[in-house]
């Protein structure tokens, strides 16, 4: 499998689910979910190369900058929405999260963890952290709303969002039991299955 997220999230997705992937990239996650789970999926993407890849994979794709808002999808309904590595790039991630949960029963979100010990160490040494989950330099990053695992979980509870399940990843972005011991310190990234209360 090409997309590491497929293994991580496939247990959360029921067969034949209707899936929308915000920021779907080259469509590999949707393609693999279609093979594994017979899902029907739509991708939303802004990058022309990603869009072309989706068309080549026969993944329906919509050219759109998610930052312009997702209100147009408000009358659509999905079983699962996926937002991998993009929620921290949005202008109002808390609002976006609410809107996503209005159009889908469940939402899978990944959050790069600024509380990860490597990030903390970098900051302690006076540098902005650069990790596999946060690969860009401070001036090149699209991330404008970074948070820690604790911050994110606080937001969910404040917004009446249930965390149905979560998986914590190590530096290699693999599922890690070690990272799960103290995720806010040991995980580089959290993957969440969310639903409305």
């Amino acid at each position: 499998m090409n997309n590491p997220l497929t293994n991580i999230v496939q247990d959360w997705i029921q067969s034949s689910s209707n899936v929308i992937d915000f920021g779907c990239g080259d469509g590999s996650l949707l393609e693999e979910l279609r093979e594994q789970k017979q899902t029907i999926g739509y991708g939303i993407e802004i990058d022309p190369n990603g869009i072309l890849s989706c068309l080549r994979k026969n993944i329906p794709v919509i050219e759109k900058n998610i930052d312009d808002g997702i209100d147009e999808f408000s009358e659509c309904s999905f079983d699962v929405a996926i937002m991998a590595s993009s929620i921290q790039c949005l202008k109002e991630p808390n609002v976006a999260l609410g809107k996503i949960l209005n159009l889908s029963n469940k939402c899978i979100v990944t959050i790069p963890n600024l509380g990860y010990w490597r990030c903390r160490l970098a900051l302690l040494l006076g540098r902005m952290p650069v990790t596999p989950s946060l690969p860009s330099s401070w001036y090149g990053t699209e991330n404008i709303h970074l948070c820690t695992i604790k911050d994110f979980e606080d937001l969910c509870s404040k917004e009446n969002i249930i965390i149905e399940d979560s998986i914590h990843l190590n530096k290699e972005r693999n599922k890690s039991k070690f990272a799960a011991i103290a995720p806010n310190l040991l995980s580089s990234e959290g993957v969440y299955l969310l639903a409305r209360k």
């Binding site: 029907i40 072309l52 068309l55 329906p60 794709v61 919509i62 050219e63 999808f73």
Partner: protein, 363 residues
């Protein structure tokens, strides 16, 4: 590229959406490429309102087909792989039965007596062509502008006879502004002293100046402001190449030239008929104006393409179609391409446009 031009006669006629009938009709049809053994590689391309069956390749006078940049060997619509079928629409004036044809019942030219034609009528006539060619279903139906409307209507009307629909620079219905612009064009034709309420051919004349003015106005709507500024700016036309003394600016000269050329080859009644078909297109109307309900039975995969500089059918109009399709659970993609040439962008084969169309046809 193997290409063929053939006049197909449908002697069983057709009953039109209005209830009127044509007892017999012809379609002038170009084909490019070859039909494969299992007849699974046929693509129907639908022309926009002033187009013809000549979509690809060059004619004897050196004129390229309207979609020559996209159709041909190794192009986006690859004639090495696909058998491209390009009919001239019913009601047009390039060889298919239309207002300039002879009515078999009266033995006279139809003129204003030619019945109103709708997008659905075109699709029905193209379905008759499909069956005459012995093909079960199109691998894809695609077109730009009014051609995109036909592709959409195809997906709605004959879900089992179309695998894909490419709906380009189109809309699910004309806007008030679209209708208004068309009406100014029609008015200039109707008020030409030579129009004779549409019976100009019987009076051995032709509303040339009205048709020319109509085309000049319409032509502006096909270009973008930026594109016109870039191309013409405020440049003054050099005296030697002025089409007449009234012209000062290059843009005026260009429109005069385009209008003149168009008025020599196009028919005024056809202009009115075609713009009416565009204005009246509204597949959602029968479904309480819910496009998503109109799309419920669609099984074709849809690709909807809009161009950022198009203000006649701006990208949002395409987006509406995609969104309605998504609400009905139909596999549908939406692209918003740069395209500098306004509405006409759909005619030009920039790299991204070509690659995405090619990928869609192969998916």
């Amino acid at each position: 590229m193997k290409s063929q031009r053939e006049l197909h006669t449908f002697s069983s006629g057709i009953i039109l959406e209005t209830g009127e009938a044509l007892s017999s009709f012809d379609l002038m049809v170009d084909t490019y490429g070859e039909l494969n053994n299992d007849k699974s590689n046929a693509i129907l391309v639908c022309h926009a309102f002033s187009g013809s069956h000549h979509a690809a390749g060059s004619s004897d006078d050196g004129k390229s087909g309207w979609w020559d940049e996209l159709i041909g060997p190794n192009k986006a619509i690859d004639t090495n792989k696909f058998f491209v079928v390009s009919p001239n629409n019913l009601g047009s004036c390039f060889g298919s039965t239309g207002p300039i044809s002879i009515c078999p019942e009266t033995g006279e030219v139809y003129g204003k007596a030619f019945p109103a034609i709708s997008v659905l009528d075109w699709v029905n006539s193209q379905e008759m062509l499909l069956s005459k060619l012995g093909i079960n279903s199109w691998a894809c139906v695609l077109g730009g502008s009014l051609g995109g409307m036909q592709a959409l209507q195809w997906a709605i009307t004959f879900p089992d006879k179309i695998q894909r629909a490419g709906i380009i620079a189109a809309a699910a219905k004309a806007s008030s502004q679209n209708i208004a612009l068309n009406e100014v064009s029609r008015e200039s034709i109707r008020k030409d002293v030579n129009f004779h309420e549409g019976d100009y051919l019987k009076n051995d004349t032709f509303p040339k100046s009205g048709l020319k003015a109509a085309r000049m106005l319409a032509h502006i709507t096909y270009l973008s402001e930026e594109n016109m500024n870039k191309r013409f700016g405020r440049k003054i036309q050099d005296v030697e190449s002025r089409v007449d003394d009234l012209v000062d600016y290059e843009v005026e000269n260009y429109l005069q030239y385009k209008g003149e050329k168009f008025s020599q080859v196009f028919d005024a009644n056809t202009y009115i008929l075609m713009t009416r078909a565009m204005d009246d297109f509204d597949p959602a109307k029968k479904f309480d104006n819910e496009l998503k309900d109109a799309l419920k039975k669609v099984t074709a995969k849809l690709l909807i393409v809009g161009f950022k500089s198009d203000w006649l059918f701006p990208p949002e109009r395409g987006k509406e179609i995609q969104l309605a399709a998504m609400q009905s659970g139909i596999s549908s993609s939406y692209l918003e391409l740069e395209g500098q040439q306004g509405h006409d962008s759909f005619l030009f084969g920039n790299e991204r446009y070509q690659k995405n169309i090619e990928a869609f046809l192969r998916s």
